[in-house]
Symmetry: C2
Subunit: 151 residues, 2 copies
């Protein structure tokens, strides 16, 4: 408690942060388990495929991809190795840019992502959205916008 | 969009979930970077030490520990290997319980955790709490309570 006071935090404030972590852990565990059971696809793989699918040309520099998912640089390298072995992602050098490799979504990767997406969306609905009333979802959005992209 | 409708989600609802992920990624990246620079301690290690410090007898079964942090079982095993090598955690068998090993916080681990905690708390304050007004923190707490431990 003294430590908290020294750093200008109250116990309640720290509790809110830890609730955010717990909420994230709980929902993430459900999604992970659903994706593994139904599609043999870990959530981290799903997230990487989804980030690539939404990027222009279905490709991202490894550094940019690492910024978008919660993986260390070495963890991401191992994951991309695995996805490449499974044919879901390829690595490509950039002709006019020496800043390293791109990870590129393959057609097989896009198909795998499409297969898994209904499972993912059902999990988001049942484990997150369905626990909040419509006005709470709107309030949550306002609060999270401040946290996700602070000005 | 058709997919979303099929699963009963709106685009706004999915966006809120992804904001929660982004907020978590952003804050987590800051904490990770601060802890590495100041204490050469990855955030995952900090989280494990903190979970053990708060458990009765400063010990948790590997399975219970895995439930509390966002790591796969194999990722946790590797991390505990590293922490054990550094003397921050020990492994102990449980005399009257065959359900596997405990991870136990050592005195050195407790000291390392104490050193790093001010950095961690400052990060939580500057990257999370300071971005919200006091009434927003209270509202966030109410919403997250529903998500962290649904009844």
């Amino acid at each position: 408690m003294t430590l908290l006071r020294d750093e200008g935090l109250t116990a309640e404030e720290l509790a809110v942060w830890r609730m955010l972590q717990r909420a994230q852990v709980r929902v993430t565990r459900h999604l992970e388990s659903d994706l593994l059971v139904a599609h043999d696809l870990p959530l981290a793989s799903y997230d990487v495929l989804m980030q690539l699918a939404e990027a222009p040309g279905r490709r991202l520099r490894m550094n940019d991809l690492a910024d978008r998912v919660l993986l260390s640089r070495s963890g991401l390298t191992r994951l991309i190795d695995r996805l490449q072995r499974d044919g879901l992602v390829s690595r490509e050098a950039c002709a006019h840019d020496a800043r390293g490799l791109f990870a590129v979504l393959t057609d097989l990767g896009a198909a795998r992502l499409s297969e898994a997406t209904p499972t993912y969306l059902r999990g988001v609905k049942s484990q997150f959205i369905d626990l909040l009333a419509p006005d709470e979802i709107a309030r949550m959005r306002t609060l999270l916008a401040r946290l996700a992209e602070p000005s």
